[in-house]
Amino acid sequence: MTIRQLSVFLENKTGHLNQILSVLARNNINIVALTVADSSDYGILRAIVSDPEKALQALRTEQFTVRVHDILSLEMDAAPGSMSKILDLFTAADICIEYVYAFSFGSKSILMVRTDNCEKAVEVILTNGLKTIREEDLK
């Protein structure tokens, strides 16, 4: 139901993002999904990678500020309105979305969701029998 996500603190400096990417490349770590949240002074790079533990160690060694968080991961039907349907369920349960991003892996459409109330979100997922994704599904 959750996938480990890397969160890397990213100062707004030219070439900074690529420094992170090159560390991952040197360590032969594949990026499955990537998104950057930004403010005027800094951002947070969020990434799903092939080996989160190895990525964490490698980035730490290179002095990056990095942590790993468990993020809810759902599989969506490859049909119009499927993401909206999921979000409707969260709204009905009065759950606020902090951020989402979506990506495809093989034939699967995957939705990553961070809410303000993880427990309640899990309840919604279980009650409604939503399809979830595990890390093994991304191998």
Partner: protein, 432 residues
């Protein structure tokens, strides 16, 4: 015009005699009424009877800002609180402010010295003075206010801030004198056009600027921008507040009101008095102060003294415009700030590492502060909002501790340079 010719043009020998007399009384007063000074003097083996003339002042102990802090709030007061009629305070280095108290006589003397300052700046009862120094615990507003009333100015006690209103009243009231920090005066000048005014709308003819160090170049720039005479009023709350010294129309140094505040210059390292004209730390002894009299208070301001008679006729000793400080204290918008105060707040919060760099800049003639501080990895979450909340929390804590707004920027750990010797914590880009 000279407000008090007897004193300001007094023969120097006579002045020494007056100072000697006052010093003897002062030493008696502090020895008998302030435990701190009695202890210091006893430790040094100095008795009040050892002080027979102003030359004996070198036998007396120095006083530092830390002494005021250590005796917070009223430990250095030499009279009971029933005789104190007013208290002022400035922000302190560890969250505790520096407190000073005034008796009725002190307030009268303060009035007198500010009246002298304004008169030597050519200001009198025909003037409408807009006082844009902050009123309140800060000595600037009320200090200048009483003196301005004494010389008979029509006082507009508008206090600091609100640029649009400042300009509106300056125009509507035909203010002829502006009293504020030099940087705020520049800011106001630059804000004229965007607020729909021009110099032609204003009747300003003089400015009394102080509460922060400023260069002669800045003084000339202010004169040009406003078409006025710009004067430097020097003071610090520990000694009195604004009015300790002021430059006359000759602008060849600031006349010190040495019948009240005896100045010395000492070498920053040895603390020994230096010869006239040599630069060092400016030290004051408050010859007449009753509330919180201080012996040889070291201001850490760097200056020189010139005892020659001024072209204006005054014989009082002149101090050179302050050129800098011997410690790391910054003056931001008239507020004293030690980098250690920032460190203290960060350590107390414990949300980040204590590695920081403070950038001081001047934007539109107003001082700005930006703090770059290293993010602690354990505080990193996956949302920007948490980081923004952290910045805001630090910014609010700093604001309440130092009374200044600070832009807080989080940076990556280990990106702020570590120094092997004395840490460089401040980059001051205001210096021209």
């Amino acid at each position: 015009m000279i407000w008090n010719k007897d004193i300001e043009c007094m023969d120097r020998q006579k002045m020494r005699a007056l100072q000697s007399e006052r010093l003897k009384q002062l030493v008696d007063r502090v020895y008998n009424n302030v435990a701190f000074y009695r202890k210091r003097m006893d430790e040094m083996g100095v008795e009040p009877s050892d002080i027979q003339s102003i030359d004996d002042i070198v036998k007396l102990p120095f006083t530092y800002k830390t002494d005021l802090r250590d005796n917070y709030p009223f430990g250095l007061f030499a009279v009971p609180m029933k005789d104190i009629v007013r208290v002022h305070a400035s922000s302190g280095t560890t969250g505790k402010p520096t407190t000073v108290g005034y008796t009725k006589n002190d307030i009268e003397n303060w009035r007198e010295v500010v009246a002298r300052c304004l008169t030597m700046a050519g200001i009198g009862s025909d003037d409408i003075m807009q006082i844009s120094y902050g009123y309140g615990l800060f000595t600037g507003g009320l200090g200048v206010h009483y003196g301005a009333e004494t010389v008979g100015c029509s006082v507009v006690p508008i206090s600091g801030g609100n640029t649009r209103r400042q300009l509106q009243l300056m125009s509507d009231f035909s203010s002829t004198v502006l009293a504020c920090t030099p940087s705020y005066a520049l800011h106001l000048a630059d804000a004229l056009a965007e607020n729909g005014y021009s110099l032609a709308d204003m009747k300003l003819k003089a400015g009394v600027f102080g509460a922060e160090p400023w260069t002669e170049n800045m003084r000339l720039e202010l004169e040009k921008k406003w078409g006025i005479r710009a004067h430097d009023i020097y003071g610090l709350s520990e000694i009195m507040g604004p009015g300790v010294a002021n430059d006359c129309i000759c602008h060849t140094g600031l006349h010190v009101h040495e019948d009240h505040f005896f100045p010395e210059i000492v070498h920053p390292d040895t603390k020994q008095p230096v010869a006239d004209g040599e630069e060092g730390e400016l030290v004051f002894t408050t010859l007449t102060k009753e509330g919180i009299p201080l012996l040889r208070y070291n201001t850490r301001d760097l200056s020189t003294l010139n005892p020659e008679t001024c072209e204006c006729g005054r014989t009082s000793v002149r101090m050179k415009k302050i050129t800098g400080r011997s410690d790391d204290m910054l003056i931001i918008r008239g507020v004293n700030l030690f980098p250690s105060q920032i460190e203290h707040v960060l350590l107390e919060l414990g949300e980040t590492s204590a590695h920081y760099m403070l950038y001081v800049d001047r934007d539109n003639n107003l001082d700005t502060l930006e703090l770059k501080v290293e993010l602690d990895e354990t505080r990193l979450t996956d949302t920007i909002r948490d980081l923004q909340n952290l910045s805001r929390k630090i910014s609010q804590a700093l604001n309440s501790a130092i009374g200044l707004s600070v832009k807080v920027t989080l940076v990556e750990p280990k990106t702020i340079a570590r120094s092997e010797g004395k840490a460089v914590r401040v980059v001051d880009n205001r210096k021209k």
